[in-house]
Symmetry: D2
Subunit: 377 residues, 4 copies
């Protein structure tokens, strides 16, 4: 009888990077055991991966439907308890819905859904069915992001008066200028990607970091998006001005044509006593600017950190942890929720974060369409 949480996975097949990320993150803390799933539309691929992973061939399925049906036939104490949804975006909603309704906990890749309405529906179902729903906004798993959240909440920088979050990448640049090359990029295809490319994929991460670290909500946005070419249907860059619910202002800047940028997501929050800055590419450094004092560089592994940040680190100071570890922290937070039916706020991004994100994306798109009108979330 296993002590680990029985995990299933939909999608994440052999060549999928996202599958690797989820498997590593799930196993890191010894909280989950992968039992099975439907990893690929091609059942032979699913079988091969199951073999490689030493999984019981009875617990893998040719399709999502058969997965749900098969697992429901098993007694509850053998049945998979939590399911990672790592399929293409347009499937997230249907699958999550079905899983929630059947009592599975869900760990869903971003974006939660294609529309805000769908996300709200999932939120209601999560409440009704008393399951946990984790949305993998990975960057919230970094210990120094968690410390930033703790510091702001404990008043270290005073009242927040300015927020600026950036997510700059360059990976679409080599494709966007050539109509043929553009077709290789599924994110530029509305059928696969949804309503938005840049803000749907990455702008929403920057938005999420703002709400996650400050505890504030964005009330309304004004957005200017960039498409570069008339026949390119989806945004690949843009800026959103924000009004936050404490009266302060902020900015989300996002780009996929910031040529040769890698994965440059960063956030700066300024309060009336000090500021905090963090950059994802050097995730183990949190910069604390305190009025009239030397800059403090906060790093993982110390007693002076908040308990929440301390619990998110496995190694002593100077031993870098990375993105898998951030995702591991999120899985770990979800595990505590599943085991205790309670959990630390912030331990993992949940269905409400998904709703907020979808509302943000839709407000941004509407603002742009209305030629930079202010749109409420």
């Amino acid at each position: 009888m296993s002590n680990k949480i029985r995990l299933g996975m939909i999608g994440g097949g052999a060549d999928s990077l996202i599958g690797v990320v989820h498997r590593i993150a799930a196993s890191m803390m010894d909280e989950y055991a992968l039992y099975g799933g439907a990893f690929s539309v091609d059942f032979e691929d699913t079988k091969k991966l199951a073999e490689k992973l030493d999984l019981d061939q009875n617990r893998i399925y040719p399709s999502f439907e058969e997965f749900v049906e098969g697992e429901l036939k098993l007694p509850p104490d053998q049945r998979i308890q939590a399911v990672t949804v790592a399929t293409p975006n347009f499937l997230h909603y249907d699958m999550s819905k079905r899983l929630i309704e059947n009592g599975f906990h869900v760990i869903c890749e971003k974006p939660i859904t294609i529309t805000a309405t769908e996300a709200e529906e999932l939120a209601q179902l999560v409440d009704k069915h008393e399951v946990h729903f984790c949305l993998t906004h990975t960057y919230t798993g970094y210990p120094m992001v968690r410390e930033m959240r703790s510091l702001i909440r404990s008043g270290s920088i005073g009242k927040v008066q300015k927020v600026d979050a950036q997510y700059y990448q360059g990976w679409i640049n080599p494709f966007i200028h050539d109509k043929e090359k553009r077709k290789q990029v599924w994110r530029l295809d509305p059928a696969k990607s949804g309503q938005s490319c840049c803000f749907g994929d990455i702008g929403v991460h920057a938005f999420n970091l703002i709400e996650y670290t400050t505890g504030l909500e964005v009330d309304k946005v004004l957005a200017d998006l960039e498409y570069l070419y008339e026949d390119n249907p989806l945004d690949i860059d843009g800026t959103a001005l924000l009004r936050l619910n404490n009266g302060s202002k902020g900015i989300v800047r996002a780009s996929q044509i910031a040529t040769a940028e890698e994965n440059n997501i960063r956030i700066a929050v300024y309060g009336d006593k000090g500021g905090l800055k963090w950059e994802q590419e050097n995730p183990n450094y949190l910069y604390h600017l305190a009025e009239g004092q030397p800059l403090r560089v906060i790093k993982p592994g110390y007693d002076f950190l908040s308990e929440f940040a301390q619990d998110s680190v496995k190694l002593p100071p100077g031993h870098p942890e990375g993105l898998f570890d951030a995702m591991g922290n999120i899985y770990n937070g979800m595990a505590k929720a599943i085991r205790d039916k309670s959990y630390t706020s912030g331990a993992f991004p949940n269905v409400q974060d998904g709703v907020r994100g979808m509302r943000f994306i839709e407000a941004v798109l509407e603002s742009h369409k209305s030629e930079q009108a202010w749109v409420s979330l």
Copy 2:
């Protein structure tokens, strides 16, 4: 008979930091000799400074008017040739006008004037009287900003498709939250500071860096400004969205309440072949992001640099030069113009840069007042 350009200075008296900056910059390259001026409203202070500086007491004057009159009485080959205007903002226009009309070259502190109309008038006068006018946008004097300009112009990053400039400071934070303390800050007083605090003082630097490095012009802006308190009459933070004249988009972000930030002006320009990034607080590093290649860190002192950048450096690699040296480069560029009646484009910011800046500030203010309408420059 001196071989140096005879320099005068208005303002910049004993305790004034700006006077020190101009004097050091003027003397660095052995191109100018300070002959006299009217350094202070209190003539005793002017005398004391003149004594300290070993200046001829006949060349100092109790007032600007007397300075102009006194110098005009001297034969042209003894008369001061160029005048630094380092007085409070509201005096820049009148003094510059008077100086230009009397054939003096002018080196004017920023802002050039209080209104765009005034700046345009100065531009016409400069043309008419065939003098040179230098506006001290100091940051354009840094060698790596000049290299950035050269690289963009030579096509190193291809067609510009995204521009993002930031100028974040925190120095108003300790004053703004207390009504009494606020009164100590002359920049928050419209009578002394003009129409704008944050964009007039620093946002315009970020704007200038964009036009200076890219060679593009900003066509229109949409701005959202922050005043924090209703009884604070001037902007202390804000964001301007930009439309550039090559069709691309950009952002200027400025703040004086980014708590504990020092003088964090930085610019990122992305083209379809690569990007360039520069930060003022570490001015000797220019980051060149080239598509599919390692990041290149460009530093002063090398043969591979543009001639323009090479001419702006006095020391070999690894010997840091700073802000005085940047200002020295601008003075040096102006000296070449005065001597040759011709000069390298970009060697110093001129009256047209002043006109552009004032238009930008006014467009930003109008956009904000119109609740984030697009306003043309």
Copy 3:
């Protein structure tokens, strides 16, 4: 029938950080499955961990001896194939010897043994019994260290003419100045730690990085060690001058009293065409200094990297991997060796690296005792 390598572990029990590191590293690439072991001297602890990890209780053992005997009774296709030795230093030799002699592959924590003679004996046994032996010099698993190795070997920096490696930590400072506190530190006890503290524990890592990246061998050393107090029996700081086998010189600097340093291991190698620098605390940056050219900052995830470095990265550019991933790469290299009976040179540190390291430590100690004489390895 499992497709994974059947892994056992000796030591690494419940509270042990090193056990976590090895388990995560072993599982990351889906190459190993942990089958059992003897995790603790207290069998109850071993049982508890086995339960937590869902291990078969038949495959855990109260002692190392029983582990070996028990596994040998199983048919070869069920028997554990590779064993991680994560016990205190003084046990490494005996256990490794026993394991090798019985045909197990060994993954041994550092130091390999207490003396060079013992290490040499293990090397002979590894040859004789045709097993693989991996010594976990973790830092060789970082992709940018591997790229450094590849670049040097491919001639990118020309002939090596200067090497400088540092390993500075501060963790012994809070203990060393107080005789009572000092007793809490097992590394300061020769009975547990062996002949050397600082060079045995960390100096040897710096030495290993030099030989690993350059492909050169250290011929002789001159060392000056620091003990700080007469009644402290083991070195806690020191510098070793090196003569390398291509005629060039080098330095190893190590300290555990570099107060408040975390885990600052770094290496710089200069050749007649350029230099390469790497720092462990920011492991995803490799600095390439090329004569007369801009500094190049090499990061993981690009096509221009060597195949060896590319194979050591799981994520795209800008997604940081850390220490677990470095260790995972070493486990992965070992897995390839176990499966193919052949492997890429450098894919994991082996028994010969262990011999070299022990010779280095002994030469350093002898040089210091001889008042800084040159001592050959």
Copy 4:
């Protein structure tokens, strides 16, 4: 009647970088006026520079001898008071001696002399003739080096227990491997350069920084030097182990063949309470590592700095000053000494620093010749 100190200069002619540095540094603080000198062996060059600089042609001289004689003929209140010696190394001693004996204050370029005996003689003469002697160890003029000195003296890092200073450059690499190219480098010619190249030119700076910041003295050294080729007579790289007079140990590492390094001088000092680190290429950052606390990054311009550091900065935080400013601080310190006949300790490096440096160089050379024996200073 001038209020400025009347300055003369020997050497530093038209094309000389060092002349520019001294002239800018001398003028920055309005403390000195350059009156004349003998700038070049070719009197026409001296005349031309004098003309460019608007100097009185009566105060320039064809030779050093004529300079001294000419000035001595003038009444003391017109006579040049302080003389900058910026001639080739081998002339420093004779010229300084003559100047001191005739009552001139001396500002001498490094190295002070060719031998320690000569330096000691100068020290005695300085005492006897009651003049001030400034040796331009430029790096001691950086505000953050001065803050480092102040912090260590005030006990911020406790008792010093480990010191490590590095000075790595790469500029000799392009010359050293080719016998013909080597001849272009005067520093490799003992007739012009003296006994040592690398340690005489740059190693001594690292040594000086150690004694300057810590207030400790180096008692003895053990050095291993690198010449690379048998027919190269002077050291171009090396390491010196140090024993300091408080019982602690240290290292000076220097190289001119650290290929493509620019001017990488840095120092780390560790005490029993914390550490301090500084790097010349980013001179406005001082890193304070405090036991169990976040790293503090100390920058210029703040009230919390020592008075000594505050007095060495002209601009507010975030406005970088550089090498000229560091040299300006040294000139400024010397000016205070000249005016007051007293001065703050550390305000400029003096003749005793010169003696210490020469003893260090000679001890290093002797140690190397004796095959790494310990040699006392």
